[in-house]
């Protein structure tokens, strides 16, 4: 701001608070990044200088020569070409159109000069056009163009969007589940191939993507970190350090935004925690928790994985892992450590095999290669109940699983799949519990982002016990079959449920009365209420006698038709009256007056 008066004015009426400062900082970094794009265009202009000057000079010399060299007209009188004739002739000759010798046939003197200038101009054109095409192919120029295109697209977004930094396999899975919910995403990845792949992906909405290093706050700002509609930042790169930088940038520039980051090491998780309170997803930690849950309550685990798989998810099979006995863990890396701690906490006996463990002080640790038959034989697989193939090498994991199955077919097998390409092999192996870190992270992040209610349900559900979860699974399968259908949220406020207002005030509206088919109220709606949130207290899977109150938030799962039917009942009073009490009430004012039925009890 150059004008001191303007500065004074701004200081007087615009008190600096924390938020504004942060906002200005983001604007600055965004500006820095777009200035970078502008710089590239200036560079292009600079590089076009030489070809343009060569072209101008060649043209000028040829035109000048034509005007100076004497010619003759049809009658043989000496004449000279004017500037306009010369320029006209050179324009069509240089661009190889060639209308012939105008206005008069040339003399030999003129033709000699024209021969020279034809060769000169062809060289000039070829040089200029060649340089221009080379510039258009230039990587820096193209990336500058795509940056501008991208920032224009992002700044035009008017609906809430999620900024996904790191578009690997995890980002893709998450993007598709969010897209199916009708949410917008903006994607940032340093791998150009992944971003180019966006165009081929079948997204419903347009997904702006930029090939850029997400560690640069300028790129984050261009991708919408400073955009008012940005609702969350997700750091999913495979580089822990980069994720930390993204968490930092988001926490410092937009402290109010929720941040979700992928992390696998505890040290980095603690460093991230220092910046606001990002929600961290550690795939190995979560898998350990899931395995514990699966050991203790198979139905709860089944329900959890089903709900987290998003709309269209298939009901996973209910496993029956051994409750007691000895487990063998092959591979004592990050996953091995988490799992051995979790299994020991469950009171199970654990022995570990690793070719080169970092610390030897762990009880039950055997140094050796798990794929070596002799080493496995020493582990007494006959007496073990479960085996974890948890190395970071898919081939090793597959051969471990095969070897273990041959020596004891009834063994409960847990394996870790590292590369997406190995998926068919692991599927053919029919493994009891398979960890795919990218999918696990995508499901966790989806559960957190889709609706806060689902996240609440997922966190509080394990406490309710296995039998309860089995009941919920039965209710859900009765309603939507083995494929998860729509999941939606209803808020019983005046805006979202105007028809319900009077009944809610009466305090006698039961959930079971509301969830009925508006065509035939004897049929219940094919929807299950997963959770009701009231004043920060949640009730999981309430039954039909649950009494609703104004301000309740409901999370329902069921068929899309049920969603439409419930929506009608919430808005149209006559439909609601029939659904709740069975009375057919005329919906028009005149008929209501004519029938003059007593007002419905409030």
């Amino acid at each position: 701001m150059g004008n001191p008066l303007l500065t004074f004015w701004k200081n007087l009426f615009d008190p600096d608070d924390e938020d504004r400062r942060a906002r200005r900082a983001t604007l600055r970094v965004a500006a820095a990044s777009s200035a970078q794009a502008e710089a590239t265009i200036f560079l292009v202009l600079r590089r076009m200088r030489a070809p343009l000057i060569v072209l101008i000079v060649i043209f000028a010399v040829s035109v000048l020569g034509l005007t100076v060299i004497p010619g003759q007209d049809v009658d043989g009188r000496p004449t000279r070409m004017g500037f306009f004739d010369a320029f006209y002739f050179m324009s069509y000759t240089a661009s190889t159109i060639g209308f012939g010798e105008l206005p008069d046939p040339f003399t030999y003197n003129q033709r000699m000069w024209v021969t020279i200038s034809i060769y000169l101009t062809v060289i000039g054109w070829a040089y200029a056009v060649g340089s221009l095409l080379a510039l258009l192919q230039d990587r820096a120029f193209r990336s500058a163009l795509s940056l501008q295109h991208f920032s224009r697209k992002v700044s035009r977004l008017r609906e809430p969007f999620v900024l996904v930094a790191g578009y690997g396999r995890t980002g893709e899975l998450l993007g598709h589940s969010l897209d199916r919910l009708g949410r917008r995403i903006v994607v940032l990845d340093h791998d150009g191939e992944r971003i180019d792949g966006l165009e081929l992906d079948s997204y419903h909405a347009d997904v702006p993507g930029l090939t850029a290093d997400a560690r640069d706050p300028g790129h984050l700002a261009v991708a919408g970190l400073d955009h008012p509609s940005c609702e969350a930042v997700v750091a999913l790169t495979d580089d822990e350090e980069a994720n930390l930088t993204i968490v930092m940038a988001a926490a410092l520039l937009r402290p109010e935004l929720p941040v979700i980051a992928r992390v696998t090491s505890r040290a980095l998780a603690e460093r991230m925690d220092a910046f606001g309170s990002p929600s961290l997803v550690n795939p190995f930690d979560r898998f350990g928790d899931h395995l514990r849950l699966a050991l203790r309550a198979p139905s709860s685990y089944q329900l959890l994985t089903w709900l987290e798989s998003g709309p269209g998810g298939e009901l996973p099979a209910r496993g029956s892992p051994p409750r007691d006995g000895r487990w063998v863990i092959c591979g004592y890396g990050r996953l091995g450590r988490e799992l051995s701690a979790d299994l020991r906490a469950e009171g199970l006996e654990v022995s570990i095999v690793d070719p080169a463990p970092e610390d030897d002080g762990t009880p039950g640790l055997r140094v050796g290669d798990g794929t070596d038959p002799w080493v496995l034989a020493q582990e007494d697989l006959d007496r073990a109940v479960g085996l974890v193939a948890g190395t970071d090498n898919d081939t090793t994991n597959l051969s471990l699983v095969a070897a273990a199955r041959r020596s004891r077919p009834s063994l409960f097998l847990v394996a870790r799949q590292n590369r997406p390409a190995s998926a068919p092999l692991f599927a053919a192996m029919d493994i009891d519990a398979l960890l795919v870190p990218s999918e696990l992270i995508a499901h966790e992040v989806y559960a957190q982002l889709s609706t806060p209610l689902l996240w609440r349900f997922v966190r509080e559900m394990p406490e309710r016990g296995d039998a309860w979860a089995a009941g919920v699974v039965d209710r859900l399968t009765a309603v939507c079959g083995t494929r998860l259908q729509a999941m939606w949220k209803v808020r019983l406020t005046r805006r979202e449920a105007p028809a319900l207002e009077q009944r809610l005030a009466g305090g006698s509206l039961r959930l079971g009365d509301l969830l009925r088919n508006p065509e035939n109220r004897d049929e219940p709606l094919s929807a299950v209420t997963l959770v009701v949130l009231r004043d920060g207290e949640s009730t999981l899977a309430p039954d039909d006698d649950f009494v609703l109150r104004a301000g309740d938030e409901l999370l329902l799962a069921g068929r899309p038709s049920a969603r439409r039917a419930l929506g009608t009942a919430l808005f149209v009073e006559s439909v609601l009256e029939y659904v709740v009490s069975g009375r057919r009430v005329p919906s028009s004012w005149i008929w209501r007056k004519l029938t003059s039925e007593p007002a419905p009890p409030g």
Binding site: R46, M48, R49, L52, I56, T67, F83, F84
Partner: protein, 128 residues
């Protein structure tokens, strides 16, 4: 000494001098205004404009703007000259000559601004 600066200064000053040479003389007398000089002025002004491409400084931007103005004026002047010579039945009479020369006078003003900018830039350059 910087060769780039020499070339740049040469073309900026040459554009102004050629323009001045065409402009000087009785405004309505066609014999005092040589069309070759106008042609040279157009070409040199075009080259000077291209030389100013891609300078990101504030003064570079003003340089480019003045050059664009000069080129615009000179091209208009040559169009007027061509019209008078080939299309108009009156030919290069006093009125047309006055139009062409006054258009080139406008270009001269822009070129003078360019030269002033060049001088200002040179004077404000501190060594070390």
């Amino acid at each position: 000494m910087n060769l780039e600066k020499v070339v740049f200064g040469f073309f900026v000053v040459l554009a102004a001098t050629l323009n001045f040479g065409f402009f000087i003389g009785d405004i309505s007398d066609p014999t005092l205004h040589n069309p070759y000089e106008l042609f040279a002025a157009v070409v040199v002004n075009l080259i000077a404009t291209v030389l100013k491409f891609g300078d990101r400084t504030q003064i570079g931007a003003v340089h480019l703007a003045t050059s664009l103005v000069a080129v615009l004026q000179l091209v208009t002047a040559s169009l007027a000259y061509g019209y008078a010579e080939y299309v108009s039945s009156a030919g290069m009479d006093a009125g047309w000559t006055a139009s062409v020369v006054s258009l080139s006078a406008g270009a001269l003003l822009a070129n003078v601004v360019s030269v002033v900018l060049l001088v200002v830039e040179t004077v404000s350059f501190h060594r070390g």
